[in-house]
Symmetry: C2
Subunit: 591 residues, 2 copies
């Protein structure tokens, strides 16, 4: 395995201000990511991550990406160095099969580390054949094994008359299908005893031994209903390692559902049981963002964070020597990509990658963090470092009443604003007032932007929409007229468009280009437009947010906001604000 | 304690169709909620839930509700029967103090079960006095106890020179402050050794014993950095119960952060340790939706689900005899309320209350569920019942290629649509086609609504906006003209408004009332309006969703959607669609 990150010494995440006049302090986070073991020559244990979103997650209503997004998603997994991917259930439909083939093609062309690709099947020849047709490396099939599922699935007497008969049928069928899959030339065969966590242990161990004996190379133990808590699931894995004589010939894998909110714990307990049993490899199935049936399943981001934090920060002996193949820096990006692709959002408090993980909010924590920083000690509260999991910066101290000018200046620059010292002073005063009115609590970025727009009037006020009128409707040619005023000088422009807003933006852009020909260089593309009612009831203000992108300049973005009784007006002014920030940036870069 | 739910026998959640011609089948879920213990005379253990959102959650950037929403939130907690609430940190600002007083007033007026109200303080007289001024029942104060926090907070030699000196100072101060709080007349005093999970165990136990000796009635043990996993935190609680001689004189409480995604496990392990030690009461601090610093903290919804499922469904001996005071039916409502109030959304896969928990999506699960239903067996996969945690219905089988007409009819009725048998047939065919084009996968409600609008043209087509024109802009009187066509007959109406959309909706409403005077009875209020670009780039379609509410009829809602190059047009037509569905409902109810 190639080490996925170079060894890093303790590092500073970023400078923050410790309040007025206190000067610059730092948050230190003692985080190293050596992939090496602690002791030379110590045996390493490889933790394999198998991503099952494309099969498990994508079964779920509302959690299905477009085929294009699926390919982008696979691309991200490849870049992150995923160990293996379950790409689908090829026999479920011809379209699934075709989708799987596309993913196989994409991965074949990838020149980096190639993950193993598996496809799911039921214990039927046709279903297994479809996995072969899809071009997967691994054939993964399953059979229900708990009494509950056997009752539902194998009630018919053709499976036998007694429970023992039915169990024998299951063992024979599983063995037969392993051999069948091997005969098709699969590199590896994976078997899952479905609902293993509720199955009889003796039967389960007999079944696992039999399939390994028949040549299965991966045995995946699922907690299908997600109801195991505490040590229960880890104990089951320990029992399998202890009881099944040929267990070390296969890679053991776990698949934990999250109904009880224990899927991370269950996967880790299983991993520790495998380590204690001397396994050289162990596989954890999961998805980013925990997508899967019902409450979903083990979150890769949580497993990765636990292993790395325990191994490198807390130096927990049980985790020393464990090796991962996935770059943790991709955690943030992938979870947020999935949410975006599915039209969901990542809650601020989501484990590891929620944005709140990189904010020091509580006033009481802030003061201790700042004190520790001044003393040069390690961060007392942030012992794991969000920056290592893909948060853009390390921990930032949020802006509130205890924040100083430097912290605010830093935040403004992050938000893309360049302001003068005098403006900074004014913004600072307003932000402190705002914080006071919020009972000393944090001022959000959105609120900071509003204050900036109010104070740094020369930017949004560079271009003022003093009149605007737009007409649309069926049977009309949508058109708009605007009067844009710059330094008191008005110019009127009209434009037609595909709708009244399109016409409005085109008219604003024409007027802006009249005043500032430098804007002609920029290829402005509308990146986002959102309008919402500020409150309920017809007579309300429209709050319009517009974002533009520079298609010819690294896709830089500029945002504008405006609120008005009139959505036309708010749209035109918010678009003009985008152009004003763009213009200022162009002028500054020309200096 | 009043039992919060009557004893329920096994019940049917809802009817679903098992595919064409298979007739009606059922999902059975064996869920009972007796609050009684299993055996007569058995000792009960009371699990107390302390909600700390108003203090812990509301510290967090972006997680602060408006004061009005805070009061609505407290009202929901009261209705759900919460045991206690930490309402804030009164000494942090005069505004916080005033907010706390408002909450105290609200709770004083509540005629149902009254929760204990606590306020947080640091170990200073003024801070504790502020909790008294706020009117709280309980004074809760804390002191850092881990070496990490002591290093940051108590480095100064005024706290002593050696670690032992500093620890002695902490014990003395804590004892002094407990006595001070009692002298102010507090009903109860709560003490938290901050970062206890990283503190030295001997020191921690000495401190806990001392504060209980001084009169503290609640001792709250926090895992402040959220890094405990597996049994570590439960072991600490077991150690405290074993070691602190006067521990049974206080209620032990836990406060677990979620950085490692183990906060549910840690709270439950602690609860089991307390039960094993013979505690009659145990308190778990948490928040709904897990809000709190960084990755948040123990989720009430997960703790409640675990205890009830273990006790009543799985009959786990360790949980038998545990009593809760909170009505689990409020879990869904409260989490979704919080998300709405904070402008967040609840991920579909969120534990317990995510919408996915009430959907049976995977085709393989569906077929087994349907088979089990036909046989009258219990649900193999849904052993805990989402309906008991506030999901509106029990588990629904989602609509996909395997779904039958009855399942679809049921779904349409849920969505508020009444359709004829002929229309149902057509909708069914379209939905199956759509599912096929989605590779046999589920058709979402949104997609079903689109199909319904396409097929049941007589409803959205009852009122067609054939022309619309709106004018707005600074310096104009926003006005609109529409031609609304009903049965081929057009009528033109104009209206002025606060903006062009308001004018458009008013004009549409006037025209609709002209045709259908029954609409004059309805007090229509705009409940939601959202417009978004369908794709990126200026030349795109606007997708407008409009929802109206009947202020005079139980706040019934009706939704409409429309897509057009022209946002005016899409707004007017989507509003007309709302009115059409409203009209149909009014006519049907008059029959």
């Amino acid at each position: 395995m190639t080490p996925f990150l170079t060894k890093l010494a303790r590092f500073r995440t970023r400078s923050v201000s410790g309040g007025e006049g206190k000067g610059e302090v730092n948050i230190f986070i003692g985080y190293q990511l050596p992939n090496q073991s602690k002791t030379e020559g110590e045996k390493l244990m490889r933790v394999i991550l198998n991503d099952v979103y494309l099969r498990e997650g994508a079964q779920v209503e509302g959690a299905v990406m477009t085929p294009e997004d699926q390919l982008r998603y696979v691309q991200l997994l490849l870049e992150g160095g995923i160990d293996s991917i379950e790409i689908g259930f090829p026999s479920s439909s011809p379209e699934q099969l075709a989708d799987c083939q596309k993913i196989v093609d994409l991965v074949r062309k990838w020149e980096g580390k190639k993950p193993l690709l598996s496809g799911l099947a039921i214990a039927m020849k046709d279903s297994i054949q479809a996995v072969r047709d899809a071009g997967c490396d691994v054939c993964h099939f399953y059979i229900p094994t708990s009494n509950e599922l056997m009752d539902a699935q194998f009630r018919d007497s053709k499976y036998g008359n007694t429970k023992e008969d039915k169990q024998n049928w299951i063992v024979e069928t599983a063995v037969f299908m392993v051999k069948f899959a091997l005969s098709l030339g699969f590199q590896k065969v994976e078997f899952s005893p479905e609902d293993a966590a509720r199955a009889g242990r003796d039967f389960l161990c007999r079944l696992v031994e039999a399939v390994i004996g028949a040549g299965a190379t991966i045995v995946n133990i699922p907690d299908t209903t997600g109801l195991r808590i505490g040590n229960e699931f880890g104990d089951l894995i320990a029992h399998i390692f202890k009881t099944v004589p040929n267990i070390q010939q296969a890679v053991v894998s776990v698949h934990c559902h999250n109904d009880s909110d224990h899927s991370t714990n269950n996967a880790l307990q299983a991993l520790l049981a495998a380590k204690a049993a001397g396994a050289e490899k162990f596989r954890i199935e999961g998805t980013f963002f925990g997508l899967g049936e019902r409450s979903g399943m083990t979150k890769h981001e949580a497993v990765i964070m636990n292993i790395l934090t325990r191994r490198d920060v807390m130096e927990d002996d049980r985790f020393i020597g464990m090796e991962l193949g996935f770059n943790p820096m991709f955690c943030y990006k992938i979870v947020h990509f999935i949410a975006h692709a599915l039209g969901m959002s990542v809650p601020r408090q989501w484990v590891v990658v929620g944005d709140q993980n990189a904010l020091c909010s509580a006033g009481t924590h802030q003061s201790i963090e700042i004190k520790a920083g001044e003393q040069g000690s390690e961060s007392p509260y942030y012992s794991w470092n969000p920056a290592k999991f893909g948060h853009e910066k390390g921990v930032s101290i949020v802006i509130d009443q205890s924040s100083g000018r430097k912290a605010l200046a830093d935040r403004l620059s992050t938000l893309g604003y360049q302001v003068s010292a005098k403006q900074l002073s004014e913004i600072y005063q307003q932000v402190m007032k705002l914080s006071e009115s919020k009972q000393g609590r944090q001022v959000s970025d959105k609120e900071i932007v509003a204050v900036v727009q109010e104070i740094v009037k020369e930017i949004p006020n560079r271009m003022l929409v003093t009149h605007c009128q737009a007409i649309g409707g069926l049977g009309t040619i949508p058109m708009a007229a605007v009067i844009l005023q710059v330094n008191g000088e008005p110019v009127q422009k009209t434009a037609a468009g595909d709708g009244p807003y399109d016409a409005l933006m085109k008219a604003v852009q024409l007027a802006a280009e009249y005043f500032f020909p430098v804007l002609l260089q920029a290829k402005v593309v509308l990146d986002d437009w959102q309008a919402s009612a500020v409150s309920k009831g017809q007579e309300t203000l429209a709050d319009v947010y517009t974002r533009i992108r520079l298609a010819n300049d690294g896709n830089r973005i500029f945002s504008g906001r405006s609120t008005s009784m009139d959505t036309n007006q708010a749209t035109a002014q918010s678009f003009a604000n985008c152009l004003s920030w763009l213009l200022t940036a162009l002028e500054n870069s020309a200096k």
